[in-house]
Symmetry: C2
Subunit: 335 residues, 2 copies
Amino acid sequence: MAAATIKDVAREAKVSVASVSRALNGGSGVTAATSERIRAAADRLQYIPHAAARMLITRRTHTIGALLPDLYGEFFSELIRGIDLAARARGLHLLVSSSHDGVEEAAVAVRSMQGRVDGLLILSGRVDAAFLRANLPRELPVVLLNSAVKNPMYHVLNVDNHAGAVAMVAHLIQAGHARVAFIAGPEGNFDARQREQGYRAAMAKHAPKAPLNILAGDFSEESGYRAGRELLAQKVRPRAVFAANDMMAVGCLTALKEAGVRVPQDIALAGFDDIPIARYVTPALSTVRVRIVDLGRVALEHLAGLLEGPDSSTASAQTLGCEIVVRESCGASVT
Amino acid sequence: MAAATIKDVAREAKVSVASVSRALNGGSGVTAATSERIRAAADRLQYIPHAAARMLITRRTHTIGALLPDLYGEFFSELIRGIDLAARARGLHLLVSSSHDGVEEAAVAVRSMQGRVDGLLILSGRVDAAFLRANLPRELPVVLLNSAVKNPMYHVLNVDNHAGAVAMVAHLIQAGHARVAFIAGPEGNFDARQREQGYRAAMAKHAPKAPLNILAGDFSEESGYRAGRELLAQKVRPRAVFAANDMMAVGCLTALKEAGVRVPQDIALAGFDDIPIARYVTPALSTVRVRIVDLGRVALEHLAGLLEGPDSSTASAQTLGCEIVVRESCGASVT
DNA sequence: GGCGCCAACGTAAACGTTTTCATGGGAAGT
DNA sequence: ACTTCCCATGAAAACGTTTACGTTGGCGCC
């Protein structure tokens, strides 16, 4: 016994298939009485409309695709959680394609999603306007996350890295550590660049006389460790270190500890991201938190808005705030 | 200019739609020359077959669904990564529905996936055979992960919690700590129960004279802390503690440290899962690692096997090994 | 009472594929 | 040279919906 089709329901309820469709979808154009009869019949047969048939005629899949790079634990799961919850609330399905690092990989992924999704959520450092033009039909709604794309044709949702970095650096300075050093992220990375600019801006504003002190890093723990060693070798050591992400802060912390430098008494330390580990290192790491669940949720809601009325007036760029979380490593909380 | 259809390609290549279909799919039943001409035409028009139309006639979606509970960071991302990579390797898409905790929620999720997927991957403590019978068509291939379902009708893939626990307890005992205590997981949890049984088995085998010492816990850090305090209050303290997961081990570690008990010199400690934090606490936590990426990969491959030949002889139950990773907290490695 | 209108309902086309079946033509076998 | 067979190809049905359009009947209005 194969799955029941709309014809079976029609026969069972003694109406035409058109009426069944109307009763189950719009509800208009059909008497309350017959509608009830149809519903009953559908229940009895455990009728579930064939998704593909509906997609074919409707040209709506009720599915959105998420294209994600190779992401680390917490961030990935929180992001998906946010997207998924918001999608479910809207009756949308979620087609995931993760762990893309190469551009070419991403290209085949989006192409293979063609026709299976109504819209796309893309988080990827490598994707730019040219890529989108080349690989996507112009009419497919897309929302870019954490993207450097400036073109107002494309909708982007960014974390306010700049403001977060400014807030943290300002906090460090106000805690009395004017000489703040910065451990930068990887060259091409958009987040990393914004955080660095935030550092520069905050220094210029709150400690204009203090020297800028920027060390190279690539977001890895090891690069943080190296930066820590470098920094210890400097003639005049900084009073505080702000790392562009938590992993580097952890690496740097290791270097400082090894050298017998006390954190935060000798050098204060702060990171960015608030990964779970931040809470567990000693001393607990001060950092900047971005509510990743919200990032996913807002992104999906933005996209859903585009689906309903592409011509609508939804702003093409949006920014998501972040908050600094003060723990022990920055030497401000008196515990 | 709407997307090109198979008819457009047919016209462009001056053949019938049937030939286009044959050339692009099987390749058989069509001359190499015409096939080439068709391919060229398809390329020129940037033809991408309409997925829904194909699903409708083929009754294959080339998509598998993943139903997941509210999972914590690392585990979730690794699992998805494994599933996703294996799926992509097979040309399958991945429809994700996560963060389900209630049974009812899960039920509507699987129902809404009806017809959109060729098979289902389910990880959930709450799902049992009755649920599956009630909510899924009998012919839909399903693979259960970490499930207590024993019914050979359903395919399940479990982590070998038992063996992992046995190995770790044996290791602790052989390191000279015969009196090993165990912090248990939540009551109904399948993994937790298996780990406890592993503890019991290993104790019975390697330290039959030592007393069993089992403390309550619920996988949370706080419950680990409470268990640690409890354990310190015991008249004769254990020489080692094996927690059913890492979070509890971390909580317990905090309790021990607070009491001035040295780890591992006074009491050795071990956990289960190898979450990232395990590496970063002091002393670094010995634990049992399960290769979660493999879990996802193997599960998907199993499911893919079912799709190809449901009648095939693939075993209905499978088990994935795990390995103990020795760090400082168990006092065995001489660093 | 006839006329027109509207609501409820049915009929059939359309969506874009795959696949079965029919048809043709050319090569091979006698 | 005629038959036989096979292989490439085309025509058309089928998949399960939605929806534009037609048809019916009842009701109000003149």
